[in-house]
């Protein structure tokens, strides 16, 4: 026979302060847990969304990032004429040989000269806007070929001066007119400045691209494309699926954030569990006559054990839900950090997913069950006669 759950709920209400303090302690742990994982999650998802599984990114062999790669025009044209490249609606190959540099830009509102952030400038071909299908112009129009015009990622606007449409931004020793703002599904592209590659090349690095991205004619034929291009003797390149490449780039920092989250929250969790243990022991001690009565009435010790475990879990559940609610408002807050793989600043949003909330609540339940186990065990083994006397 089970002890009804309402018994536990009423007992908790009998000692509201103690219950609330314990639950709140667990809530804080859960909030930090969810918050930190939401940060790691947001960073990962920004980079994961950057690439498309239908696109192929080509870098110089051995280069581990776009920044450290380079590619001459001849290689670019060999790649462009590859049979694996899809053809666009206009009959042209869907290819974008790109220039990739990092420039220092002063943060908005700062007169402090040290407040410079590194921002990615990407020179793209006119086809890039269709190759990257998640990129869309939000305000203004695309930069025209042959003009000193740029398009600014949505997340840069507001964080840096002179990034509104119609304004003039100066970098690389030239003035550039901002003609549009683009969105890219929350990806890392939104922290970049795009312009025509042929305009950027003379300003920055001379006759070299950094990378080349093309749309696969047949998305299933990636392995085949990788094999032929890497085996081509005229080229010394590494071929990546674009989505895999950017996911890989997020690994280092994503993993650091995740490890940090787990480390910090597990230490906090131990503290919270200690709190739960204290609370439950006190509850068991003050209710020994009650427990003895339950046992005398014929409730099995196992039921008493389950009942006290449930009571502890109930406190933790309340804490977990409160913690999840506390963490919820951070969803969508934009923060920035440096993507060390590209040495540039990337802005992204905290991402609190339903799965994460659930994980937080489960985490709370685990804390409750662990914290409640020994006190519940004591309750179940209570010597009836002594307790009643």
């Amino acid at each position: 026979m089970k002890v009804p759950l309402s018994y536990n709920a009423r007992s908790l209400l009998q000692r509201p302060v103690s219950t609330a303090l314990t639950a709140l302690g667990i809530a804080l742990v859960v909030a930090v847990f969810i918050g930190m994982l939401a940060l790691a999650n947001g960073f990962r998802s920004a980079l994961t969304r950057t690439g498309s599984s239908q696109n192929v990114l080509v870098l110089r062999r051995g280069a581990d990032s776009e920044l450290s790669s380079n590619m001459d025009r001849q290689s670019a044209s060999i790649l462009t004429s590859s049979p694996h490249v899809a053809t666009g609606a206009d009959g042209r190959p869907m290819v974008s040989p790109e220039l990739y540099v990092v420039i220092p830009l002063p943060r908005a509102g700062g007169t402090d000269t040290t407040a410079l952030a590194n921002v990615v400038v990407r020179g793209v071909s006119p086809a890039a806007w269709t190759v990257r299908h998640n990129v869309g112009v939000e305000a203004g129009r695309k930069p025209e070929s042959g003009k000193a015009e740029i398009c600014v990622g949505k997340k840069l606007a507001g964080r840096f001066d002179h990034t509104a449409v119609g304004e003039t931004l100066r970098f690389g020793g030239r003035n550039w007119t901002v003609v549009c703002q683009f969105s890219a599904n929350g990806s890392a592209f939104e922290s970049e400045i795009w312009g025509e590659n042929e305009q950027f090349i003379p300003v920055f690095r001379g006759e070299l691209f950094q990378s080349l991205t093309f749309r696969l004619k047949d998305p299933a034929a990636f392995a085949e494309a990788k094999r032929t291009l890497e085996a081509d003797r005229r080229l010394t390149v590494d071929v990546y699926r674009e989505s895999d490449f950017y996911t890989e780039q997020s690994q280092l920092l994503g993993r650091i954030l995740q490890i940090l989250a787990i480390l910090i929250t597990s230490i906090m969790a131990i503290g919270a569990i200690f709190g739960a243990i204290n609370t439950m022991y006190a509850a068991v001690a003050s209710r020994s006559p009650e427990i003895a009565v339950l046992l005398t009435l014929g409730f099995h010790p196992r039921s008493v054990l389950a009942s006290f475990l449930a009571e502890s879990a109930l406190i933790a559940l309340v804490g977990g839900i409160v913690g999840a609610l506390l963490a919820l408002p951070i969803n969508g807050i934009v923060t920035s950090t440096t993507n060390w793989a590209s040495f540039s600043e990337i802005a992204f949003s905290f991402r609190v997913t339903p799965g994460l909330l659930l994980a937080g609540i489960c985490f709370a339940l685990v804390m409750g069950l662990v914290g409640g186990f020994f006190p519940a065990w004591r309750a179940a083994r209570l010597p009836v006669v002594q307790a009643l006397r």
């Binding site: 990092v102 040290t114 919270a272």
Partner: protein
């Protein structure tokens, strides 16, 4: 203090509860100290930099090179007493491709510029003599199990191919802010292998008078303004500070978590104190009856809270200090010189006092105000 015995006896009554509460406080302060040390270490790195050193970068972008031909012009600039240059190499070592920093430097002038990089004279001479040699930090040597004279092969990412260097020296930094897991090798070797001579990543200048840093920097930048490669000159400190800001809102994040941790443990401690005081209602009444004053009883509860908080604090803060010291922790090279500062310890003690007040106040006031007759009746 004559009641200390009584307080200790009270603490010993629920040994498990006391232990768990002290342990929670210790964990909280351990975390607090660790999180704060991340912030102080970053701050220290941002403030590091000799006032006598300036860094000259390509104004267009950090990753773009500057012609080596600028060296002579920089050396003759007014107020500049020494010039050196370096390049970021960006190579990877071994199968697990662990990251560490490699720099191609002009050996003689670089070591003269950075007296903080200390290595034995014979190793230094051996390094200077041999073009394909390198010096590495002590930590790096231990990490990979290298030894002096060993050849190591590094895969270039920025400069393709396999690069073999002979380790001729092991340095130890005299200032903990300087990484002890870098590798330095000859800039000339880089030029020879790549066949692209004449490019430096950045220059470091030594100036005669730190007060003129801004003026000297401006003169240099003005001089190169209309050249093919305009420069941006700033103090070494500003250069390091710009790296530190690249971490974004780390300080805010760490601060927020630190507050949450402390607050969570406050709840645990306060709860424990409250439970103890509730159980002792009868005793307190008896003590009052035999002549203990309200003030003494208030003090006794506060003392109990204080002992719990302080014991936890000593364990947590001391543990953090010793652990990071003993393990020589540097977060994989990201946080060199990770050490709990005296300032952090003092702040930790302040947090502890707040913890004591906040957790002890309610029970202490309750004990002091307890109406004797009612309390005794309730026990019966």
């Amino acid at each position: 203090m004559k009641f200390l015995h009584l307080v200790l006896a009270n603490l010993g009554r629920h040994k498990r509860r006391t232990f768990l509460t002290v342990a929670s406080v210790a964990l909280a302060l351990f975390l607090f100290a660790s999180l704060r040390t991340v912030v102080t270490t970053l701050d220290r790195a941002a403030q590091f930099g000799s006032a006598r050193r300036l860094v000259v970068l390509n104004a267009t972008g950090l990753v773009l090179p500057i012609p080596l031909s600028y060296a002579n012009r920089l050396a003759t600039a007014k107020g500049v007493s020494a010039v050196t240059w370096a390049n970021w190499f960006g190579g990877k070592y071994g199968d697990n491709k662990r990251f560490f920093a490699q720099f191609a430097v002009d050996p003689t002038s670089y070591l003269a510029m950075y007296p903080e990089i200390v290595l034995p004279e014979d190793q230094k001479q051996a390094f200077l003599r041999e073009r394909s040699s390198a010096i590495v930090g002590r930590r790096l040597l231990d990490l990979f199990g290298w030894r002096l004279g060993q050849d190591i092969t590094i895969q270039g990412t920025l400069f393709p191919g396999d690069w073999t260097f002979t380790i001729r020296g092991v340095y130890t930094p005299s200032d903990p802010v300087i990484n002890d897991d870098m590798m330095l090798f000859h800039h000339a070797y880089l030029e020879e292998r790549t066949g692209r001579p004449g490019l430096a990543g950045w220059y470091v200048l030594e100036i005669n008078d730190p007060n003129n840093a801004a003026a000297i920097g401006k003169t240099i930048d003005d001089g190169f303004r209309n050249s093919s490669t305009p420069t941006k000159t700033g103090t070494e400190q500003a250069f390091n500070a710009s790296f530190a800001t690249m971490w974004g809102n780390v300080s805010l994040l760490m601060g927020t978590i630190g507050m949450a941790v402390v607050f969570a443990i406050l709840l645990v401690t306060a709860n424990a104190m409250m439970m103890s005081s509730r159980e002792r209602t009868g005793e307190v009444a008896v003590l009052k009856t035999i002549g203990f004053t309200d003030r003494t009883l208030f003090g006794l509860v506060m003392l109990e809270a204080g002992i719990i908080a302080l014991t936890g604090a000593v364990l947590g803060l001391g543990g953090a200090k010793l652990l990071y010291k003993a393990s020589n922790f540097n977060a994989g090279g990201f946080l060199p010189g990770f050490d709990v500062t005296a300032n952090t310890l003092i702040l930790g003690i302040a947090v502890t006092l707040v913890l004591m007040l906040a957790s002890g106040l309610v029970p202490a006031v309750r004990a002091a105000r307890l109406p004797v007759v009612q309390a005794l009746r309730r026990v019966e």
